[in-house]
């Protein structure tokens, strides 16, 4: 008994020592109060292919900023919460960041569905939210406190339909995931088909955990489409490619900009050859002309990311880069007042990011148009821009 008492006391004392030690160190470091920025990313779960590069990128930038002395002397405190890609967890994370941590702005979430789920919180609590998800519905109609950095899914659809029109293909089959991203993409595909005189001859869906799409693709095969468009972010998009080729479906296959991670290509193997998809210029910055405003930034980010994490860069990490940089620019200009940050983001123009050159306005909270997309294809297991 006595020995246990002594042991316990020693333990408590050590703990106290450690705690005070930390505190002291912290106090010395912080000359000014930190600027707190929240981040909600799907770090684990089925959308972790989005969330992980986003978290890595945001942490990398925060470190770079703090190493360089912070923002006007204020250190940047980035608080990352994992949403696991689910709506409920995202709502909880957002509430925690806003109410408990008192952040001045939130970046993320990674997915369209989870972004839609927290728009109300951002609006009610008056916190600027910069989403890293694609669905146009996030910022159309415009919500006062909500912005987004990825290109619009509607512009991605336009890019694909433009390409199909050029080739003279007018009959499209679509297959979409039932997630927020997939469902929003499906809406845009159907809505814009009228404008482009496209005929949707088959319209199939699949769940986020499905491992076999043979049935849907068999139906599509019977529909005599001239091209197949798949819209999802889950690993299912690799399975669609594999199943389509296994069924002997030879029509051109389009993917959404959610395909911009080389891991999807690896998972689909040889079947991925020739797949077409629009994405930001980040996937192949080397090929850009030297006077391109994005080139220097893209090469720098790609190099930094790949050196630090020894993993291929993806457009999703780029979205976190754009979102955090946007907030940091606002912090630098107006400090950590939520309303002022919002106003500053809304008036940002000519901001060069990884997804394009952003021009925000009170009418446009996305800031990009379809020119931010480059059409890529897969050649020998690599992303290559399509020569047009």
């Amino acid at each position: 008994m006595k020995r246990i008492c002594i042991g316990m006391t020693a333990l408590v004392l050590t703990a106290m020592l450690v705690v005070t030690g930390c505190k002291k160190e912290k106090e010395e470091e912080l000359a000014l109060a930190p600027y707190k920025v929240g981040a909600v990313f799907a770090v684990t779960g089925p959308a972790s292919w989005l969330g992980e590069p986003e978290k890595n990128t945001a942490e990398m930038i925060a470190k770079q900023i703090n190493d360089a002395g912070g923002i006007n002397g204020h250190p940047l405190e980035l608080i990352v919460e994992d949403t696991t890609g689910e709506e409920t967890a995202t709502v909880n994370a957002m509430k925690k960041l806003v109410d408990k941590d008192g952040v001045c702005a939130v970046i993320g979430p990674s997915r369209s569905g989870t972004s839609m789920a927290i728009i109300n919180i951002a609006e009610d609590k008056k916190v600027p939210l910069v989403s890293c998800a694609a669905a146009a519905a996030i910022v159309v109609p415009v919500k006062k406190w909500v912005f987004k950095v990825p290109q619009m899914d509607s512009d991605c659809v336009r890019r694909i339909y433009d390409y199909m029109k050029e080739k003279g293909w007018t009959k499209a089959a679509i297959i979409t995931g039932t997630t927020g991203f997939g469902a929003a993409g499906r809406d845009q595909l159907i809505k814009l088909a009228k404008e482009y005189n496209m005929e949707i001859v088959a319209d199939e869906t699949y769940g986020p955990k499905d491992t076999d799409m043979t049935v849907q693709l068999t139906k599509i095969k019977a529909a005599n489409a001239q091209a197949l468009i798949n819209w999802s972010i889950v690993p299912g998009q690799s399975t669609v490619i594999k199943n389509a080729r296994q069924l002997g479906l030879t029509i051109p296959l389009f993917q959404s900009h959610g395909f911009g991670n080389i891991e999807y290509v690896k998972a689909a193997g040889a079947a991925a050859e020739g797949v077409l998809f629009p994405a930001g210029a980040l996937l192949g910055p080397e090929g850009l002309p030297d006077d391109d405003p994005q080139k220097k930034l893209l090469l720098q980010y790609k190099n930094d990311y790949e050196t630090k994490y020894s993993d291929a860069v993806s457009t999703f990490g780029g979205h976190a880069y754009d979102a955090l940089t946007l907030v940091v620019k606002a912090l630098k200009a107006v400090g950590d007042d939520r309303a002022k940050i919002r106003d500053h983001i809304e008036n940002t123009t000519g901001f060069v990011g990884t997804a394009g050159v952003f021009n925000y306005s009170p009418q446009d909270h996305c800031g990009l148009d379809k020119t931010a997309f480059v059409m890529y294809t897969v050649k020998a297991g690599k992303f290559v821009p399509v020569e047009e």
């Binding site: 684990t44 779960g45 089925p46 972790s48 292919w49 992980e52 039932t178 319209d203 199939e204 869906t205 699949y206 769940g207 955990k209 491992t211 076999d212 043979t214 049935v215 849907q216 068999t218 139906k219 019977a222 690993p235 690799s238 399975t239 594999k242 296994q246 069924l247 002997g248 891991e263 690896k266 998972a267 689909a268 193997g269 040889a270």
Partner: protein, 297 residues
């Protein structure tokens, strides 16, 4: 509907149904010796796929297959010794809760080891689909069906004709009597975990070439496999196969129903069939009511 289309759906249903059947077999083995439902069964499927993907980089597939099965069987044993055995005097419900914990633990560990990406595995034989009466079938589907048949036959022989198999069945029938006649129940429970982990691993290995494997794919297999086991009659081996194939086929033909958005509801169709059937016959297709009344769960 054309014959070729019907065949195409049938093959898709048999392919996925065979996997559910193998998962259901795994459920049954543990259920029969211990009376518990091992909800970590799906993770054994995932681990089988993961181990093989890793091993196949170092050695031929023919060698990687048995080593992966063995490795997962060992994981099954460790899981039993570490989590189930210390709590063996607890109620069935407690033990089932423990297996849920085990499932999360294995999933989390797999995420740490292999990361969050999906991994492909090359098919056992050619990748070129075969045309059967207008339907395209991947050769891997025949491997899946063949492996299920072999597993089923070997299991039946094992439980009918070997002393160990009979001893395991004795544990299921009456634990106290089995102990009194000199059977080490402890060892039989351990063996049942090894066996069902091994079968789960086999399912994971044969399915990975046609799907993909990632750390989180196990829970879906566990859910469907459990549905298959219940539909076929919990504890009945042949029932697992009948239940698995029924659910697989229901899913595929349900998704093919000619109305907009049918494919979104394919899981719904399968589970609806399960629900309706169980209302009519709670002991499952091949289960007998008199026997199921004697069971604890």
């Amino acid at each position: 509907m054309e014959l070729s289309t019907i065949l195409q759906y049938a093959f898709a249903g048999i392919k996925i149904g065979s996997i559910y059947a193998m998962v259901a077999l795994g459920f049954n083995i543990i259920y029969n010796t211990t009376g518990i439902i091992n909800l970590a069964q799906g993770e054994f499927v995932m681990l089988g796929g993961m181990f093989t993907v890793t091993l196949a980089k170092l050695m031929p597939l023919g060698l990687a297959f048995p080593i992966a099965v063995l490795a997962v069987a060992i994981v099954g044993c460790l899981f039993e010794r570490a989590a189930i055995w210390p709590a063996r005097r607890s109620s069935v419900i407690t033990l089932i809760m423990i297996t849920i914990g085990g499932s999360f633990l294995l999933k989390g560990a797999a995420m740490q080891v292999w990361g969050k990406n999906s991994f492909p595995l090359r098919p056992f034989s050619s990748e070129k689909p075969i045309n059967i009466l207008g339907a395209w079938v991947q050769p891997q589907v025949f491997w899946i069906i063949g492996v299920l048949a072999v597993v089923m036959i070997l299991l039946t022989l094992f439980f009918r004709f070997t002393l160990t198999g009979k001893a395991m069945r004795a544990c299921a029938a009456n634990r106290a009597a089995a102990t009194l006649s000199g059977i080490s129940v402890d060892r039989m429970v351990l063996l049942s975990f090894a066996l069902s982990a091994g079968i789960g691993a086999i399912a994971g290995i044969v399915i990975t070439p046609v799907t993909l494997v990632d750390y989180g794919c196990g829970s879906m297999y566990a859910l469907k496999g459990f549905a298959a086991a219940v539909l076929g009659g919990l504890g009945v081996s042949a029932g697992a196969v009948v239940g698995g194939l029924t659910i697989g086929l229901m899913e595929c033909f349900g998704a093919a129903l000619p109305f907009q958005g049918a494919s979104s509801y394919k899981d719904g169709f399968a589970l609806l069939i399960l629900f309706v059937f169980l209302c009519a016959k709670p002991s499952g297709i091949l289960g007998r009511a008199a026997i199921s009344e004697l069971k604890k769960f």
